[in-house]
């Protein structure tokens, strides 16, 4: 740390860190020397980036290809109304530089893929994973293991959050457990909805992301005991916390990056095609007063936000509700984007032999875009 210098301005800025005996100037210099890659600048990424920038982490990388949407502002505190429609990563960079001009921020306005992951991660010391889907979770984990980087992990769903430090470098040179030791395989698609479908309490990523930032700082400075070999669970609804042990699994073998979409069952090789109908065709059926049945397989709360007056049978209950579905006329099934309704059709066709089911292409989102802009999107 001898070649890292803190200016008088920086010494003043970080005075409350430097006053902590365990931290001192040495800890602050370690932060300045550190390079942290934050994957995702959304719900978790917002507090992680804000606190790491404020704390003086010398180089922050931001991976995000998304743009700011109205529905992000309930929890993604990096962004304001004026930012809607703009690049998240670029907007985050401006905001963070305004917060701390002493640090370097690199924007990677791209989707993390198996082609670029190792190259990106190799440019940094530590990764903070705040992504929103299983394929990227496994990609980040495997790339961290292959490149020997610590992966500070956090994840949220509704009122619940998880935090852990994966692939931590122990004093004896061994590595701590990683995500695959905890979860060798992802759940099947559809069991665990993402935040868009399942919802998340806006303040939850603030809490969980702050814990994630705290672990990043601990790993960089070597202060305290990092959350390695353990996973922290928080349930905001009941205000219960648990810290559980995570053990290495001798069966875990990571030797190369793989096709993560396929691994997570998102691009299954043998999924049958379902019959489709466009929103324009549905509109014409309505205008012509054709007799058909419209079924909505979303959750009740989604129905409250917006609906096309279809019969509500959530996907989880579709298989046992076959008697409510007509066999002698055209049945159109829809959801938000068309994915869950396709799953519902496959389930009904394979379990109950339906042959009159049509998937509404693009779901209620397409209806709002092409037919009726009064229908809110979410």
């Amino acid at each position: 740390m001898t070649d890292i210098k803190l200016s008088a301005q920086e010494m003043a800025r970080y005075a409350r860190h430097i006053a902590i005996p365990e931290f001192n100037v040495e800890g602050q210099k370690k932060l300045k020397a550190a390079k942290v890659l934050v994957i995702g600048s959304g719900g978790l990424g917002s507090p992680v980036l804000l606190y790491l920038a404020a704390a003086g982490v010398g180089h922050l990388g931001i991976v995000d290809f998304d743009v700011v949407d109205d529905s992000n502002l309930q929890r993604q505190v990096l962004f304001t109304v004026d930012d809607v429609g703009k690049s998240k990563a670029e907007t985050a960079k401006k905001r963070l530089h305004a917060l701390n001009p002493h640090i370097k921020i690199t924007v990677h306005n791209t989707r993390l893929t198996k082609e670029n992951a190792l190259d990106l991660i190799n440019q940094y010391d530590i990764v903070a994973d705040g992504t929103d889907n299983f394929p990227t979770r496994y990609l980040v984990n495997d790339a961290c293991v292959l490149s020997g980087k610590t992966n500070v992990y956090a994840s949220i769903f509704r009122f619940e959050g998880q935090v852990s430090v994966f692939n931590y470098l122990n004093e004896d040179g061994t590595r701590g457990p990683n995500y695959r030791d905890m979860f060798p395989e992802p759940p099947p698609p559809g069991l665990v909805p993402n935040c868009a479908e399942g919802g998340v309490l806006g303040v939850l990523p603030g809490i969980i992301g702050s814990l994630q930032a705290c672990e990043v700082i601990k790993v960089i400075t070597g202060i305290g005991e990092p959350l390695a070999g353990r996973i922290f669970l928080f349930d905001a609804a009941s205000f219960t916390t648990r810290t559980l042990k995570v053990n290495k699994n001798p069966k875990t073998k990571i030797t190369e990056l793989i096709n993560y979409e396929q691994f997570c069952g998102i691009l299954p090789t043998n999924v049958s095609e379902v019959k489709e109908i466009t929103v324009k065709e549905l509109y014409h059926l309505q205008v012509q007063s054709t007799d058909f049945q419209l079924i909505d397989v979303r959750e009740p709360y989604e129905y409250e936000i917006a609906n096309l007056e279809g019969e509500l049978i959530p996907l989880g209950a579709i298989a046992e509700s076959a008697e409510r579905i007509s066999r002698d006329k055209k049945v159109i099934i829809h959801c938000r984007s068309g994915k869950r309704s396709a799953d519902a059709i496959r389930e009904l066709e394979s379990l109950h032999g339906f042959d009159n089911l049509y998937n509404l292409k693009g779901g209620i989102l397409a209806w709002s875009k092409e037919i009726d802009s009064e229908i809110p999107t979410y």
């Binding site: 995702g40 719900g43 978790l44 929103d132 069991l191």
Partner: protein, 92 residues
């Protein structure tokens, strides 16, 4: 009675109940009672051979049952069984 904590993603199969009281003497018995009371939960926790699925971890207290005696691990009164699934949310 021991307690099983149901994680949020599985609560749609338990009528939104977040905990389940069980008299089971082993983890296997406790999970058996749980899925007996909430049959729709079964296929999300157990595979066709009634083994716990690989994307779910089951804990007794703070310990993974795989580090104890797996599904035969004894459960005492007042102990807590946690079912921990992978969740992926963060950015969106």
């Amino acid at each position: 009675m021991a307690k099983i904590i149901i994680p949020t993603p599985l609560r749609k199969f338990t009528g939104n109940a977040s905990t389940f009281e069980t008299k089971g003497n082993t983890v296997k018995e406790a999970i058996g009672e749980l899925v007996h009371s909430h049959p729709n939960l079964s296929r999300h926790i157990l595979d066709d051979q009634n083994n716990i699925r690989s994307f779910i971890r089951v804990y007794l207290g703070e310990n993974d049952i795989n580090e104890l005696e797996k599904e035969e691990t004894s459960v005492l009164d007042n102990e807590t069984i946690s079912i921990v699934p992978a969740i992926a949310g963060g950015i969106a």
